[in-house]
């Protein structure tokens, strides 16, 4: 028998009203606008777009406001919203060679065409709290230097390629699988893994990547290239009969170069890991590249040493923070009936055990 328990409506309504009040906080403090969040908390906005898997800075900023800064809650809101929208189509693959780079560095080559461009980075800051930011004040303009904004910056990998020392990434016309249309199935091909990793939890992905560096499926990654900037998005428009640019998006791309001794199927060479994430999400893009490389063990004929980062089922099924939090948090919701049956079971077992022990106790 199932007995529905009613009666929580008023408590729920009142809880949500109080939530709205707490979200607003002290009304003597000015309210945050969505534009302020978008402009001044932009890395939080980028993370919500990447893991929400929907590029829309205003919407991500609004979700952060609604979620009181709980980024996983904000990602949940974005994932829910995107399911309500019709899909117009699939873009042409973005061309990161034509990226307008804000940042472009290589840890493997000092001198390279296009140079080492640091961009607006936290690197080389002292990580000391800047109390000056607590006071209002104007920010001086960043210095500029004349340059050709249309100059394309070649990928670092092309230099190693010219010597034949690195595996090539050859074009492949195969239509890639889409996680948002078909449920994730294992074994997952690389295209599916990269889609899944692009939207996986940053903390989880970082942890998996770090585990490979500490020796659980070590693959000796160097950051061959890291670039952040804007790329054009092109869509084929059936009613026009040709493709047009429908906008631009900021992306972060990381290519790793990995030591590789060769295997039964591959010659000794450098292999590659790849991470592409929407927005400025540098830590995440590097993490994706390391995990991507670890998950390629089978294709490269490497040994499976049983490391967690080599296990695509483990990585892909546990990296989605919305699936994870949904299952984790549901256990706090009412389980009265489930628990009642457990309680009765334990009581019954104790009664039976007690009945067996009683004769001894009586002696």
């Amino acid at each position: 028998m199932y007995v529905a328990v009613k009666g929580g409506e008023r408590a729920i309504d009142n809880a949500h009203a109080w939530l709205a009040e707490e979200r607003r906080g002290d009304t003597s403090v000015a309210e945050l606008s969505v534009a302020q969040i978008r402009e001044q908390l932009s890395l939080a906005v980028n993370r919500v777009m990447a893991e929400g898997s929907l590029y829309d800075p205003d919407l991500a900023a609004l979700a952060i406001k609604q979620a009181r800064g709980d980024l996983i809650e904000a990602i949940f809101l974005i994932r829910a919203y995107r399911t309500t929208l019709p899909r117009f189509g699939y873009s042409e693959p973005v061309d990161t060679t034509r990226m307008a780079c804000d940042r472009r560095i290589s840890a493997t080559f000092k001198d390279l065409p296009g140079g080492q461009v640091l961009g607006p980075t936290f690197d080389y800051t002292h990580r000391l709290i800047d109390f000056a930011l607590a006071a209002e004040g104007e920010v001086p303009d960043a210095p500029t230097r004349d340059t050709d904004p249309d100059a394309s910056i070649p990928h670092v990998m092309e230099f190693l390629n010219s010597e034949g020392l690195i595996e090539e990434a050859l074009p492949d016309p195969t239509e890639p699988p889409d996680l948002t249309r078909e449920p994730l199935e294992i074994p997952a091909e690389r295209a599916l893994r990269l889609q899944s990793l692009a939207r996986s939890d940053e903390g989880f992905t970082l942890g998996m990547a770090y585990s490979t560096q500490r020796g659980y499926g070590r693959n000796h990654a160097f950051v061959g290239e890291l670039r952040i900037g804007t790329v054009a998005v092109e869509l084929d428009i059936p009613e026009l009969g040709f493709a047009i640019e429908i906008g631009e998006m900021t992306v972060t791309e990381c290519e790793t170069v990995n030591q590789f001794q060769g295997s039964k199927t591959e010659p000794p060479q450098f292999t590659r890991g790849y991470g592409l994430v929407v927005g400025q999400c540098e830590r995440k893009a590097i993490s994706v590249a390391l995990v991507d490389r670890a998950l390629r063990w089978e294709e490269l004929g490497e040994e499976n040493v049983g490391a967690p980062a080599q296990d695509s089922e483990f990585v892909l099924y546990h990296g989605d923070n919305i699936q994870a939090t949904g299952f984790l948090e549901h256990i706090k919701l009412p389980h009265y009936v489930d628990f009642q049956s457990e309680l009765e079971l334990v009581r019954k077992l104790r009664r039976e055990a007690g009945a067996m022990e009683l004769p001894e106790a009586a002696e």
């Binding site: 898997s53 929907l54 995107r82 990161t96 492949d172 295209a191 054009a232 640019e245 631009e248």
Partner: protein, 149 residues
């Protein structure tokens, strides 16, 4: 691909890359906004954006982005389409209207009043960012240590 197609790709891309609200504002300021019939009311949807594995390999699905589209026809029958990133219905409709106007005899006026400012603003915007990035380029130099002999 014909010149007409390339020109249309150029202006549709230019309008799609412009900051939110700018295209509609330029259309209003130009005084060129005509009466029109709506072929497709402005509609918000998504496009799944793709990347390439290893930047040059096979495609994979990266993330969706929001896109708004609209289609209009002018009294003369000219049809215009607008596709712009984001969720601005007025923006998509303005882009569709301008796309239509640019195919009529008013194209010269629309070019001067709308496309030229958009081009100039985009060039300035890109140059400013590129210049800031260029200022963060590392100039390596070698420290000479000890006496050379």
């Amino acid at each position: 691909m014909t010149n007409a197609t390339e020109a249309r790709q150029h202006w549709l891309g230019l309008m799609a890359r412009a900051p939110d609200g700018r295209v509609a504002a330029l259309l209003t300021d130009s005084g060129l906004a005509p009466t029109f019939d709506t072929l497709r009311a402005p509609e918000i949807g998504t496009v799944m954006v793709r990347g390439r594995m290893g930047a040059t390999g096979g495609a994979f699905n990266l993330s969706e982005m929001t896109v708004t589209r609209a289609s209009v026809s002018l009294a003369c029958g000219t049809v215009g389409h607008g596709y712009v990133a984001g969720r601005s219905k007025p923006g998509a409709e303005a882009a569709a209207l301008i796309d239509a106007i640019l195919q009529t005899e008013k194209s010269g006026l629309a070019r001067d009043a709308i496309l030229v400012p958009l081009e100039n603003e985009e060039t300035a915007r890109k140059a400013e960012r590129a210049k800031k990035a260029a200022a963060t380029k590392v100039d390596f130099f070698t420290m000479v240590r000890g006496e050379s002999d």
